[in-house]
């Protein structure tokens, strides 16, 4: 079985995001970028399935500018087998990404797609569900446990009040949550090996997908800044302030 894992290049989660002065978006120039953390978990899960002998190839797909190839390399260094890069210079909305991924699924025929539950840049939390709908497949979102059977998979999902156990028919789209696993670090020999692994390039035109945005970003602004309050001198003063000034306890 082949597993497809979409990966996205985003601003590293440790970087303070800055809004551009013209309010057109956030500053991406000279900012440290990394693989979306949820996608790392997806790659790790695919690797574990392969290591358990349940998959024979892991293909990474990234939609984005040419530097997205670096993100694919990161996943290849973790142990994935090859990559597909779909070049896109503008922001591609989740629906269009799902359509591109559907076209790749039709080409590659994977038995499973594993995605991060959301990307930490636009926080949309849509692509996996949309891809699943377009394919007419089952969806298993926010997975914190995955157990593959031959025809079906048992999934534990993180829901607001706790956990939910479901079973989905394969092939399926799984979107992963934080608790599923802890992604490995790439070793130096594997980083070297990853440089020789193939990355194919495709375009939205070749895949026959219209990626025209449906949403116009009118502006992007900083949220109202929070100013530092006061320092209290003692626990008793703190409790007093919370009771009588803030009235929150």
């Amino acid at each position: 079985m082949k597993i497809l894992v979409p990966v996205k290049r985003v601003i590293d989660y440790n970087v303070k995001v800055r809004v551009k002065p013209d309010q057109s978006g956030v500053e991406l120039a000279n900012v440290k970028m990394a693989m979306n953390p949820f996608d790392e978990i997806a790659v790790e899960q695919a690797l574990r399935i392969k290591e358990a002998g349940r998959a024979d190839e892991i293909v990474l797909v990234s939609v984005g500018p040419s530097q997205s190839q670096e993100t694919i390399r990161t996943g290849l260094a973790m142990g994935a087998d090859r990559g597909i890069h779909i070049e896109a210079d503008q922001d591609i909305e989740p629906l269009a990404v799902a359509k591109l991924l559907k076209a790749v699924v039709k080409k590659e025929g994977p038995g499973l797609v594993i995605c991060g539950k959301q990307a930490i840049d636009d926080d949309s939390n849509q692509t996996g569900q949309m891809l699943s709908a377009l394919l007419g497949w089952a969806q298993a979102t926010f997975a914190s446990g995955v157990e593959l059977g031959s025809e079906k998979a048992k999934i534990i999902r993180e829901v607001d009040g706790g956990l939910e156990h479901i079973e989905v028919v394969l092939p399926a789209v799984i979107t992963v949550d934080l608790r599923l696993n802890e992604p490995r670090y790439a070793s130096l020999p594997n980083i070297m090996k990853a440089k020789k692994k193939p990355i194919d390039s495709l375009s939205a035109d070749e895949l026959g997908v219209d990626t025209t945005p449906r949403l116009k970003v009118v502006k992007v602004e900083e949220p109202a800044a929070r100013s530092a309050g006061i320092k209290v001198g003692s626990v008793a003063e703190l409790v007093d302030k919370l009771k009588n000034e803030a009235k929150v306890i």
Partner: protein
């Protein structure tokens, strides 16, 4: 304009996030219908009909709708979409699971997690875990939207007199089945909906020291959270994590104990109404966002706080 609100419920009671979603629908303006899809869900339908501001409750009662499986419910909603200008659901795990599937079936872009309605086509939503706010305008005829519940004041769950109408379900897609749910048995509220959150960071030094925070949380009726550093250090499980890669919370009171205030943590809690920081390092960045800061060793301050709270 006609708006459809997807009601989240457990076949009996309506989840309160639905009330915030109705408030967002009112901000858009127009007739508001509500969909209750479930099984043996007449109680939920009646509860929905009593919500202020809803004109009609549409009920789809069928075994395959019992547990909110997206594969069965999304086609039902997509089939109703032509009657509406907007479809709204709460941005809970329930809404986030189902609505993008509806959007794809309707070939419509979804606008996730809105925090403000600018006009019928234009909405504000947080990106980068709230470190930036984007205003987006949709060019689709249909708007498909999830609503962040903390951003809209809930409407009343009484006083409404909506009519109730039954429709057929879309059938079982045969793709998924529900086995069981394991809802947290904790007496404490859920992290994302708690009015007070007490969180510990790397300064807690050890998982067992979180017991001190548990005691405070029990006295305050609070949930317990943690920074990524505390999770990475193995003090507490991942589901405690508040931050950009964990849960985003906005309680009335957030107490950060032994948390330095890394950017990724601040992203998950800075919309809290009141923030308290207890840290022995008076240079810790957490103090820059705290309304009340206490520079103290947490191992002295937390037990003292415990006894102050009585």
């Amino acid at each position: 304009m006609s708006i459809l609100v997807i009601v989240e419920h457990d076949n009996g009671a309506v989840n309160v996030a639905t009330l915030n979603t109705v408030a967002a629908a009112q901000a858009i303006g127009g007739d508001i219908d509500a969909l209750v899809s479930g099984h043996n869900c007449s109680k939920a339908a009646e509860a929905a009909a009593a919500i202020a501001g809803i004109s009609k409750v549409i009920v789809s009662d069928a075994a395959e709708n019992a547990n909110g499986l997206a594969e069965n419910i999304a086609p039902l909603i997509a089939g109703m979409a032509h009657n509406y200008s907007h479809i709204l659901a709460p941005a809970t795990t329930y809404g986030k699971n189902i609505l993008p599937r509806v959007a794809a079936l309707s070939d419509t872009a979804q606008i996730s997690d809105i925090i403000a309605v600018i006009d019928k086509d234009t909405f504000q939503r947080p990106i980068y875990a709230g470190n930036a706010l984007a205003t987006v305008r949709s060019s689709d005829a249909l708007k498909i939207i999830t609503v962040r519940s903390t951003a809209f004041e809930a409407v009343a769950d009484t006083g409404g007199k909506a009519t109730i109408e039954q429709i057929d379900a879309a059938g079982d897609a045969g793709l998924s089945s529900f086995e069981k749910s394991e809802l947290s048995k904790s007496e404490r509220p859920d992290l994302t909906s708690a009015g007070i959150v007490v969180s510990g960071g790397r300064g807690m030094q050890d998982g067992s020291n979180f017991g001190m925070l548990d005691k405070i949380a029990d006295k305050l009726g609070a949930a317990v959270g943690a920074s990524r550093a505390a999770v990475d250090a193995g003090f507490v499980p991942n589901d405690y994590q508040v931050g950009q890669t964990g849960k985003v919370v906005a309680p009335d009171l957030y107490m950060a104990v032994g948390i330095s205030g890394a950017i990724q943590h601040l992203a998950g809690m800075k919309d809290s109404k009141v923030i308290v920081a207890i840290n022995k390092d008076d240079e810790a960045p957490i103090f820059q966002v705290a309304d009340y800061g206490l520079v103290a060793d947490l191992f002295d301050a937390v037990p003292e706080l415990d006894s102050e709270l009585g």
